[in-house]
Symmetry: C2
Subunit: 519 residues, 2 copies
């Protein structure tokens, strides 16, 4: 295995920038111990100070926008427009967490006043809040070089929680990871963060050292099922197991009813192909499965739409090789027909060692069930599978076999007949059990960063179905509750004091309010 | 290994009731599949209906109070007064969860309305709530035959979340488990719960089958570190890992400052010995470590207080044997002195094969650190260790070596001098990182069931530091978030509809309120 990370331009395969050496065990240890030393002073910062840290990081990234976007494009070939938008999203995310921290809205304060008359026993004064869990390891993803990388959602939410962060850089983004880390670390230092708050390590072995280091208290990960499972297994087999929040990818089933097809078949074709091929099919929310009524008659329309799509190269030659392997394996399963087999790469349009053609296959719902182990696996890249069903029961049975997913989508008639209305309710119940986000009449790519967002789902979409890697509640992954019993008011953390000096929303004796406690 | 569970009276070792055969793999499968079939209809019940289920269980247990307390006393020898109180606590807990469910306060509703002007991209309508995770396996504890057993906190919180439950009975409570299960299952059925909502299995192999059954989606466990770790390892090594919430016991350090000792040494002796020997030392919150200033001069007072304590027998001969083994191992560590060595059992007061004498040892803080692997382990039963420190730094170093705990307690002077005031703040910071509950001037035994309670802590106190097994937030262990994107109002679950028909507290566009959404 290589002992350096070397960036390459996916358009040409040419080296980008210098090689960056992997971090050895002693180096990981130093970085993590520095993070551990930062944990208590970082946790002790007021919300206003923590908020300043997050805003400083956002400003610094924004100020370096041209350089970062250029570097990212050289290492990913994702295009400057997309990357510019992704960097904006990354900054907006940091600003949003800053607002939440400033309002103390992440502390989940619950207070029960003493009650000497309580049954079955007198009750002491109990005041609970969330505190930072400690140093967090973050594994940067390949497909979002900003939003799920060095300064991405895991880092932002861990910092918002008040936790030091050690990032394991993605091997294909060495230069971008280095510059992002330098910019973020400098911004944190200038804004008053303790030394060691933000570290960076490189290499597969360093990743293992990070997950197994005794001072690391939780891990955030975005990447493949295989890599995520291996690291999850390390995290939970430690002498002291730690939470491992892995987002491992997803099939993201989309169901189209007969009514929707009658109403807007063209929109379904356009929308599906657009979502399937967005970012060259390298989104974790790519719709990998499209359930259509048998006899839909859309094969030619799909093929034509695919032929009209211009794809950038995949993120690396290795990812291209993985895609080609998965694509061929799909095509070889009994009962699978090609709508576009993806074998003809337009080298003129994309003359790169990482370029591929989009692929779309079709299979009956019965064959899907028959070959579920071969067909119900994620193919990372621009490939999808149309599943054709005859009856509602067949559709429901096939959906029931789909593993846990980040998203599930329903397209139905705007004014459904009674049968379809019944089917829709059945589908919504089933899909609520399958996915973290249930979408109506849209497409799963595009994940808004908001309070309510949930980017998660049952295994194998994630390793932790209670948690999200996007949205405000992502912070909760890196906090643990502590309750103080009968502590004198002046010794309590400010959020728990009678006077409520931060004006937080608190649950007091079961009721929510923002005021002080008066007696 | 025995293929039956046989109850025995700890006072005499005599059999109580009939032997109950272990559940074979097919039996576990049937029970879990029945629970899985109940999951969707149970989840679909309105809060009012779910609330009725919980209240019906509480009423049925209360109605059978005399029979249950008698049965529990025969199998545990814990005494009818304690057991009567514990059953009350169990009923109160179910009633409290019923109140929370009735108010919809457990659903954590977050709504972000669509925003076409959002940066970096227009934002859809997103509405998030918590839904039941699915069938839950619950492992009953030995030391609380009601509150942490068949109808205990794990069962109550899983049912409150809307999840079917399959309990693995504790082997030493076969008759009580059977009757509790019959009473609870009948109450649930009468109140309209779907068939299969509540199952019971027996035996070690059945426990393994339960944790590894594909239809089980989470596990609650209260018991030993060894058993908990083994089952945790099974849960996380499944093809689809599931959350495992284990409460594994704790050393529960108590720190007494010089100022507290000057002010109230007698209270410290009485309070500590009372808490150490409560329930014959078989509480997970038993104070196992007492940090005292060197030269405290309390050895005779402790020995006298212990000699004046009347202990019931331990819960079984097996637990007695484990206690004797741990007690002797503690006594044999270099530097450990006996205050009361626990070797003289008063057979006249407690003529049982499970009876023991309380033991208290002392060691210097330096020797504690030197022999930390032998000394910083839980001894289940009435044994404790006094740790003597000379300086604040020595105290802090010794505390830093204590593993994660359910509780940590500080006793300080009511009007501390400046030095002690500084030490107290240092201790509170350190202990917040170590424990789930930080107690001021009290004793850790006794865990109030309230909104704010947190009964949890870092490993090895629990397998899941973000969660609690006592208090309202215990429900969250068995819920997962789902967000609906652009779903028509009439298809949304009631808690998410514009009109807010249940009048829930909801966070809408970042702000908490109870009202409807108006446009």
């Amino acid at each position: 295995m290589s002992s350096v990370d070397q960036g390459r331009d996916p358009r040409t395969g040419a080296a980008v920038g210098a090689p960056y050496p992997h971090t050895d065990t002693a180096g990981v240890d130093r970085t993590v111990l520095a993070a551990a030393a930062a944990a208590a002073p970082l946790a002790a910062l007021s919300p206003a100070r923590r908020c300043e840290l997050l805003r400083a990081v956002a400003s610094a990234l924004d100020a370096a926008r041209d350089e970062l976007v250029r570097l990212a494009d050289a290492e990913t070939a994702l295009g400057e427009a997309r990357l510019d938008g992704e960097l904006t999203r990354t900054c907006v995310q940091l600003e949003m967490f800053a607002d939440v921290v400033a309002a103390g809205a992440d502390l989940d304060v619950i207070i029960d006043l003493a009650d000497p008359a309580a049954v079955p026993a007198p009750r002491p004064d109990l005041r609970r809040m969330l505190v930072p869990i400690g140093p967090v390891g973050v594994f940067a993803a390949s497909n979002f070089p900003f939003a799920f990388s060095v300064a991405g959602g895991d880092t932002a939410s861990a910092l918002a929680a008040g936790c030091p962060v050690v990032v394991k850089a993605h091997p294909d983004r060495p230069g971008l990871s280095q510059r992002t880390w330098e910019i973020v670390a400098a911004a944190l230092t200038d804004a008053g963060a303790p030394a060691g708050t933000f570290g960076l390590v490189r290499g597969v072995a360093a990743g293992r050292d990070l997950v197994t280091h005794p001072a690391i208290k939780a891990v955030g990960f975005t990447g493949s099922l295989a890599a995520g499972r291996a690291l999850f297994d390390l995290a939970v087999s430690r002498p002291d197991p730690i939470p491992f929040y892995g987002e491992l990818g997803s099939l993201n089933p989309v169901v189209v009813t007969a009514g929707a097809l009658t109403e807007r078949a063209d929109d379904v074709v356009t929308g599906f192909i657009g979502s399937l091929t967005l970012g060259s099919g390298q989104f974790c929310t790519k719709p990998g499965l499209l359930f259509l009524p048998s006899g839909h008659g859309l094969a030619d329309a799909f093929a034509k739409a695919l032929a009209g799509t211009t794809l950038g190269p995949l993120l690396s030659e290795k990812i291209r090789n993985g895609f080609e392997h998965s694509r061929r394996a799909l095509a070889a399963v009994a009962g699978v027909r090609a709508i576009s087999d993806g074998s003809t790469v337009d080298r003129a349009a994309s003359p790169s060692p990482a370029s591929v053609a989009p692929a779309l296959f079709a299979v009956s719902a019965d064959d899907l069930l028959r070959h579920r182990d071969d067909l119900l696996v994620e193919c990372f890249g621009p490939a999808g599978l149309v599943v054709e069903y005859d009856t509602a029961d067949q559709l429901v049975d096939a959906l029931a076999a789909v593993p846990g997913a980040l998203t599930a989508t329903v397209h139905a008639a705007s004014q459904p007949a009674a049968d379809e209305a019944r089917l829709v309710r059945r589908l919504l119940g089933l899909l609520t059990g399958k996915a973290g986000r249930v979408i109506w009449g849209g497409w799963p790519t595009g994940v808004a960063v908001t309070w309510a967002q949930h980017h998660g789902g049952p295994w194998p979409a994630t390793t932790a179905p209670l948690h999200t890697s996007v949205g405000v509640t992502a912070i909760r992954r890196f906090q643990r509750p502590v309750v103080y019993q009968n502590l004198p008011d002046e010794l309590l953390p400010e959020p728990l004091r009678d006077a409520n000096p931060w004006g937080l929303p608190r649950r007091v004796n079961g009721q929510l309010h923002n005021g002080p406690i008066t007696r």
